[in-house]
């Protein structure tokens, strides 16, 4: 999807990680994730918020690692 010289994946990953930090450790939790309602799959929203970010960070790491590996393999192939 991205050229291996592209900076976009790095920027997207950095932005996502910064946003995750803001939302689970920083004041983002207070602003957007603190309330108990609505319940999501039986969990209070405040817990679902943290679990949601956990899944989101996992997917972002997975995609970023895949892209890093793709770049390394392309470099080795040259």
């Amino acid at each position: 999807m991205f050229d291996r010289r592209s900076k976009v994946p790095h920027v997207l990953f950095a932005l996502h990680s910064a946003l995750a930090t803001l939302c689970v450790v920083g004041p983002g939790y207070k602003w957007w994730g603190a309330s108990a309602r609505p319940f999501v799959f039986g969990l209070p929203f405040s817990l679902a918020w943290a679990v949601g970010w956990l899944i989101s960070v996992f997917v972002s790491l997975l995609l970023y690692e895949r892209w890093t590996r793709h770049c390394e393999e392309a470099e080795r192939g040259e």
Partner: protein, 488 residues
């Protein structure tokens, strides 16, 4: 002593079954741990860094099981029970605190392979060209590790005492469990730690999910109904930050996030990995280990409306299990799971702290020459000494488990600027990094003793880190013309 011996001999059948299941688990650990190091070389690199040959499976469990400790199994449900949603900060810091390792880990591993480093302090001091810093880092690590290890020993003793209805006292339970740890760490080094962590990780994850889903079902008819009931009776527990303040929530999260990435026993695993890809994949899959916190939270919330209160918040899970008239085998399995959580962290800590004291304190900072065999022997001597000191602290310490852990994070977080400079900066002023680190650690220790001096009630580690960075900036500016070390 005589009366305690009589208590042990006068145990009920249930207490015998619980003890029997726990002993089976301990024997399993011993067997796995003793065999774990059979392929490692006899050198110090083999004992401390597993010959830099750990594969992805081993790394995943070493990191995951090391992170999840007696704190996770006992204090986390205890915090959920007393303070509700305040406990969610644990997911936050664990999740983002490990991301920097994706970049720093492979870089540290490459430098380690080139320069022969096998510990974090050795790398920071070596890259900054200032050997004395390794001594400071070794001392700070050891002083932070001792309460952390004591926490694991105390947790093990508490669980055994509670689940055997007080027949096996805390001091004896902790001593037996950590005698097993001592045996396999002495025999097999980091590979023994690694393979037992696989065994312990699988056991504690399985049991956490089993109890985390079963307890809400048994007590309330499911997870959803449990939270609905809590929302009716104690709604303040379900909104973040629970019964704590936002200041506490963010402050504890930030310092834990920073300290988490700096822990020497985790960081030095970068030197044990087979290759960069193994390290990166460990970080990628680490959140799957974090999911294990969800059932742990559920256990704590299940205790909120439980008819009888536990003797202390940390005992909420053992208290519920003991009150529900469960088969003794189930209680014994829980006991094994809780012991696994504590021991999987305790073994890594004692191994790392002994390695650090010898490698960084003795060899790097003091410049003593040791052969590989001598180094390995002295690491083993320090394993025994540190274990004994931690055991004494665990038996006599009366405070709660969480404050003990949060104390340890502060001084460790002061390593961050040095680590970043060693790995990423082109200009490395070892003297400046060392002075700033000392200021940060001194601030932590002072504010721990005088908490009323801390501005806005911030965690002492954050204040220390702020001072650390400020002093570093001033010294870097003032010493612009001095000799600086740089890796090409």
């Amino acid at each position: 002593m005589a009366s305690e011996a009589e208590l042990v001999l006068g145990m009920s059948t249930d207490a015998w079954v619980v003890s029997g299941v726990s002993l089976l688990y301990l024997l399993g650990c011993l067997w796995v741990g003793m065999r774990g190091g059979k392929d490692a070389s006899d050198s110090a690199v083999g004992y401390v860094a597993g010959d830099r040959a750990m594969g992805p499976l081993l790394m995943y469990f070493v990191i995951g099981a090391t992170v999840f400790s007696a704190f996770s199994f006992l204090a986390t449900p205890g915090l959920a029970y007393t303070s509700g949603a305040a406990v969610f900060y644990v997911i936050g810091y664990g999740l983002v605190g490990f991301i920097p390792f994706y970049f720093l880990g492979p870089r540290a591993a490459r430098i380690g392979r080139e320069a022969g480093y096998i510990t974090q302090a050795e790398m920071v001091a070596g890259e900054c060209g200032h050997r004395a810093m390794a001594g400071t880092m070794a001392l700070v690590s050891a002083l932070s590790f001792v309460p952390y290890l004591a926490l694991q020993i105390k947790g093990a003793g508490l669980v055994v005492e509670r689940l055997t209805e007080g027949h096996v006292p805390q001091w004896l339970g902790g001593a037996v469990c950590y005698a097993v740890v001592l045996a396999y760490v002495l025999k097999s080094g980091v590979m023994g730690v690694g393979w037992t962590n696989v065994f312990q990780g699988v056991l504690m994850m399985g049991l956490a999910w089993a109890f985390g889903l079963w307890l809400p079902y048994k007590l309330y008819g499911g997870v959803g109904p449990m939270f609905e009931r809590i929302d009716e009776v104690r709604p303040e527990l379900l909104s973040a930050p629970g019964t704590k303040s936002w200041q506490w929530f963010i402050s504890a999260g930030v310092i834990s996030m920073i300290g988490f990435g700096c822990w020497p026993h985790l960081f030095m695993k970068a030197f044990s990995a087979r290759d960069d890809r193994t390290l990166r994949r460990t970080v990628v899959f680490y959140p799957t280990f974090m999911v294990f916190l969800v059932p742990i939270f559920l256990i704590g919330f299940a205790g909120v409306l439980f008819p009888t209160p536990p003797p202390s918040p940390e005992q909420v899970l053992p208290h519920m299990l003991m009150s529900l008239d469960l088969p003794a085998v189930i209680v014994g399995l829980f006991c094994a799971g809780a012991l696994a959580a504590g021991m999987s962290t305790g073994d890594a800590i004692v191994h790392a702290s002994a390695s650090i004291l010898v490698r960084d304190g003795w060899i790097t900072a003091l410049g003593r020459k040791l052969t590989s065999t001598q180094e390995r022997r002295w690491v083993r001597v320090f394993v025994v000494v540190l274990m004994l000191v931690s055991y004494v602290l665990a038996v006599f310490y009366e405070g709660d488990l969480v404050s003990l852990l949060l104390y340890a994070y502060g001084p460790i977080a002061q390593f961050l600027p040095g680590m970043l400079i060693a790995l990423c900066a082109r200009r490395r002023d070892g003297v400046a990094v060392h002075i700033a680190m000392l200021v940060g650690v001194a601030a932590c220790v002072t504010l721990k003793a005088m908490p009323e001096w801390s501005p806005w009630g911030l965690h002492e580690g954050i204040v220390g880190l702020g001072l650390n960075v400020a002093v570093l900036g001033v010294l870097y500016a003032a010493r612009r013309g001095s000799v600086l070390s740089a890796r090409s």
